[in-house]
Amino acid sequence: MTSITLFGLCAAVLIGLGVYGLIVNPQPLRKILAFNLIGSGVFLFFGMIARRGAASGLGGDPVPQALVITGIVVAFSATALAVALLLRLDAAGGPSGLDDAVDGES
């Protein structure tokens, strides 16, 4: 067991947690949050792959690292758009929850 494997497993659990939260939490904002958790898990997984590619003095493969940086910024812009949609829906008096998410609750 190395630190690299450890963070790889950590990423796997984060993705699982995110998927669970995305399905189970009825609040749309919580779904956005869970989706971000999945995203960060995927980035971390990629970072783990980059770390494995360490060679000739570099701590990790710079190509996946650069792609992760791009990914983090794009994920932020998608989150901002999702939040803006949600706030607009709320301001327009739209439904606050997603029906099928709370289907069958007591």
């Binding site: 630190s3 450890l6 963070f7 790889g8 497993l9 950590c10 796997a12 984060l14 993705i15 699982g16 947690l17 995110g18 998927v19 669970y20 939260g21 399905i23 189970v24 609040q27 904002l29 919580r30 956005i32 949050l33 971000n36 958790l37 960060s40 971390l44 970072g47 783990m48 770390r51 494995r52 590619g53 360490a54 060679a55 000739s56 003095g57 701590g59 710079p62 190509v63 690292q65 650069a66 792609l67 940086i69 791009t70 983090i72 910024v73 932020f76 812009s77 758009l81 939040v83 803006a84 949600l86 706030l87 709320d90 301001a91 606050s96 929850g97 289907d103 069958g104 609750e105 007591s106």
Partner: protein
């Protein structure tokens, strides 16, 4: 070695605990606070994975995401109050749990069966890096070897902002984005937003400048600039320009225009789109980075501020 592994293990447990709390806690506001903490912890994980550039980005973007989500949580609190009390059916939770477990188990199995030796592009990058004149391999990948990704990403940011702005009610179109904030010159926000931006702006330019050779670059610097602007905006000391402002629109597209112009100039001068002429790579990359830093800073800040809501909806 052993101490490092134990520390990494504790860090991973802390990250997972905060993530689980973010998913499981009842109040949405508490979840967003948890998510902000989670972003900072992830930055530490990136350091442990020897990716300081990603760590800087995660810390900076994580803070912006935190502001965005916290504000949304406060605004949505009245309409979400009812949803907070709902518990999803046991059947749904079991199914979701099974699915999540299956995904995690598959990924964990993948972790233990990765190809050996690990595939790497380090030899190709180090062989070509000298031609860019850059000391930071990540910046070389972002601005030279995979420049097309970085160019398209800047375009994605602008599209996202256009999409956010287009949510504005018809009456508010062209107005000042976000809610109007009345500044109190005596409160702590006003104090902080006078104290921090001078320091923050200097650090942003420093991060941009050293990004050529050390961890840093335009994304991290631009995010820091955006944060400083947001601080002053939220204290009511400055107001974002109206979205119809021509100067603002030029500022948004400046980075992409410079990038595209130099990329196109590469076709006759260096024989390929986004190629740099021999010996000119570093000054051209710095020029692109400087223009992009300003555009990225303005775009990210405005993404957090949101669409022009007008007076009626505040």
């Amino acid at each position: 070695m052993m101490a490092g592994l134990v520390l990494d293990g504790l860090l991973a447990l802390l990250v997972l605990a905060v993530a689980a709390w973010t998913i499981g806690v009842c109040q949405t506001f508490a979840a967003t606070v948890g998510f902000t903490v989670y972003g900072l912890l992830l930055a530490v994980v990136w350091m442990r994975l020897a990716a300081p550039d990603a760590a800087l980005t995660e810390a900076a973007i994580g803070a912006l995401t935190g502001v965005l989500l916290l504000r949304a949580a406060i605004q949505l609190a009245p309409s979400e109050a009812g949803l907070n009390r709902l518990r999803p059916a046991l059947k749904l939770r079991l199914l979701a749990g099974t699915l999540a477990f299956a995904i995690t188990a598959t990924l964990a199995a993948v972790v233990f069966h990765l190809p050996e030796p690990a595939p790497t592009l380090v030899p190709q990058v180090t062989a070509q890096q000298a031609s860019t004149g850059l000391g930071n391999a990540v910046t070389a990948v972002l601005l030279a070897f995979r420049a097309i990704d970085t160019l398209l990403e800047a375009v994605v940011l602008i599209f996202a902002l256009v999409a956010v702005w287009s949510l504005a009610p018809d009456a508010a179109w062209g107005g000042i984005p976000g809610a109007q904030i009345k500044g109190g010159s005596g409160d702590v926000r006003a104090y902080l937003s006078r104290l921090l931006p001078p320091v923050g702006i200097v650090i942003a330019f420093y991060i941009f400048w050293v990004g050529a050779d050390f961890p840093g670059g335009k994304f991290q610097a631009g995010t820091l600039l955006a944060a400083m602007g947001l601080l002053a905006t939220m204290a009511g000391l400055i107001q974002p320009p109206p979205v119809a402002s021509r100067g603002l629109r030029w500022a948004l597209v400046l980075g992409t225009l410079v990038f595209l112009a130099l990329g196109l100039a590469g076709m006759p001068l260096a024989g390929a789109f986004l190629a740099y002429p021999e010996g000119w790579a570093k000054p051209l990359i710095l020029l692109i980075e400087a223009a992009s830093m300003l555009s990225i800073g303005v775009t990210l800040g405005l993404l957090v501020i949101g669409y022009p809501a007008g007076q009626a909806e505040q």
